[in-house]
Symmetry: none
Subunit: 418 residues, 2 copies
């Protein structure tokens, strides 16, 4: 089906906010086999919203309109829909009830403020009112028009849970089988991944391979679209195996799996525990690990050893080693990893020490230089990396590299030799 | 002036690339006093490009079209312009000369490949041909239409060096003044902020106030647009003062300032140092603090005390206190904060302990319960919060609340009484 996406909000037309919603929606729809003919971005002005909607309905098979559904006075989408499509606003008491139930714990913003959310254009079918999310489907001129909230995580949830399944069932769209997987790669550039994989597209119109740099990773999407379900499944299984083989151990996971989840699964399987000693990553590795539910089963915690005094006090790094080699050195990374492992009695200790910038670099150790220490029962090893980017990117790359080193250790990809 | 932006490229409509160009252009134009009525994103299809151009010329005072100017076969903008605006392609030998001169150093892509870049629609005035950049101005129906390359750094250079100066001279456009500020609020719901501020909009068409939930904050944008520069400045200053007064200490900063930066500035001003003891936030507070360049001047680091054993060993929390009250308790938060402050000899110690979920909750301490401990020279205090959301949201809310407590402490908003 051919679709059009309309993003609504003054924060977008003034350039204040980057429009990530339209891109996410376009990406999902594209990989589900739809074609996006146009994406419009307009301000919170009822007249403009109405014009964009009417134009989109005229030329597309379906429309996704994102934003302007909130409870505040600057949200005008419903008003515009009521006018432009001649669908007077109708009150849905059941929506208000659900909202009130949900917000009963928080003292502020109950009742009145949210009443606006319960007024929808006539014929609107709320998509997920039980989750206190705005968003509804309107069928106009026999075409589905999905109105989604501009809050990114809500928009994503509704796209995945409601919009894509409904579109798949729309007028025989269901007879086509679409299989998709995202392969997550770390440690290779997008162009290098492209070079390795481009021969497998084979000019087959039913196969689509997409490359997306999703910092600090590269994601590869494989999509197989076929009328014949059995054939699609075979093709998909063969290609999946081929891609896994080619990307080898640079491929760390697929779909929604994060690097920290992969590490958590490996630690759980091997009944091992982990502790970290973070200098330049400042807590980011601990944060990534503890974002995973259940991480307390294998993660003891660690030390954010930002100041040298903490490296000494909490990790038993000797003052002489710090003075002789500097805090950013293989020797200190090694001592930090060994120190945190010993103090916490964990199976694995991981340490980072480096220069995240923008200042602090020197000719020998420029900004982006990061040393990693890895300590395990029969292993004590250090690694030196030089990352490109700004402070934030260097910290992200260092944290992901630290996790990747643990993954490789647990997969026996790191030799025991010192 | 009222403008429209058109971004062209299949990589945009398939969701493969995030459209940062349109946002950059919108931001520059907005702050230069122009209004963007719509931003369109379309694929590399000549018919679609032509339709979008004609529509934009009809309703806007100027148009910025970005992308599709490159030398490869999938770039179709010039072809579309020639057709849609009836301006046959014309060869510009002087452009080809400049390209050839410029590209003589690079072994690839000389001559033939670039000849396409020298064919422009009749009437086109190249913007910066000496830099081997595509991009030209076309005046159609007395309206300026700027065609810019999709390569972000080239687009930015041409926007700043060519487009903005030309537009400023176009028919007295320079007389409108636009002033904008973003107010960052934490600890109030979007609807509550709206309630507090909605009376100041006063139906004045020159004032715009926008509300944006940017989790975990709420952002309020104030925009004043006026022909008279002096009047706009007065209005803006008065409204800014009024908003600051109303939002009071829930307003933590403005524009690009993060909560961690505000905390860093206060610590620097007051010559104080900070250390953290994080349980449920797992390193996120340390990460937010160390994302700020120069944070090593006031941040010593701390302990990610995820396991109870680390709370004992590294923070001197007594085993009896843990056993009697449980790890998630005011008593443990207090001991953690005091412990990290004492061990690191910092001025301020901050501790978090709570239940981020999805499991681990009980009737007395449901998921989302988080205790904070704050220790300073003459203060030892705990706080209990109950956050809504999933694991990730609870961790984000807890980290931001922890930083906000330090901010309030440094602003003397926290009473010394225990």
């Amino acid at each position: 089906m051919i679709g059009e996406i309309i993003a609504i909000g003054d924060e977008l037309t003034s350039g204040r906010i980057l429009n990530t919603n339209s891109r996410f929606a376009a990406g999902c729809l594209f990989t589900a086999g739809h074609e996006i003919v146009a994406m419009a971005t307009i301000g919170d002005t009822a007249g403009e919203i109405g014009r964009a909607l009417r134009r989109a309905i005229r030329r597309a098979d379906f429309v996704i309109a994102i934003g302007g559904l909130g409870p505040t006075t600057d949200d005008r989408t419903n008003e515009a829909v009521a006018d432009a499509l001649d669908r007077p606003a109708t009150f849905h008491p059941e929506i208000l009830d659900k909202i009130k139930n949900k917000s009963s714990q928080s003292p502020e913003g109950t009742g009145q403020d949210y009443e606006k959310l319960a007024w929808l254009p006539a014929g609107a079918e709320p998509l997920k009112p039980e989750a206190r999310m705005a968003g509804y489907l309107l069928v106009h001129d026999s075409k589905p028009i999905f109105f989604l909230p501009g809050v990114p995580h809500q928009m994503k949830e509704l796209m995945n849970d409601r919009v894509l399944p409904r579109l798949a069932l729309w007028r025989g769209a269901a007879s086509t089988r679409v299989l998709q997987r995202i392969f997550k790669v770390f440690g290779l550039q997008e162009t290098a991944v492209n070079q390795k994989l481009k021969h497998i597209e084979k000019n087959d119109p039913q196969i689509r391979i997409g490359y997306y740099p999703v910092f600090p990773d590269v994601h590869v999407s494989l999509t197989v679209i076929d009328k014949n379900s059995r054939e699609a499944e075979n093709k998909f299984a063969n290609l999946t195996a081929e891609i896994q083989d080619i990307l080898s151990d640079c491929l760390y996971g697929s779909d929604e799996t994060s690097m920290a989840q992969v590490v958590g699964l490996l630690l759980t399987e091997q009944h091992k525990t982990l502790a970290v000693a973070e200098s330049c990553t400042g807590g980011l590795i601990g944060h990534k690990i503890t974002r995973v539910a259940g991480s307390s089963n294998y993660f003891a915690g660690g030390v954010i050893a930002y100041a040298n005094s903490l490296k000494e006090k909490y990790l038993d790094v000797e003052a002489g080693v710090l003075a002789d080699h500097g805090a950013v050195s293989a020797e200190v990374a090694r001592a930090m990893a060994a120190g945190i492992r010993e103090r916490t009695a964990c199976d694995i200790g991981l340490a980072t020490t480096g220069i995240a910038g923008p200042t602090g670099g020197s000719r020998e150790k420029p900004v982006g230089t990061v040393y990693f220490g890895l300590a395990a029962r029969d292993l004590e090893k250090t690694f030196k990396f030089r990352f490109d980017g700004d402070r934030r990117q260097i910290q992200e790359l260092a944290a992901q590299t630290g996790l990747d080193l643990i993954r490789r250790l647990l997969l026996d990809k790191i030799t025991k030799a010192k």
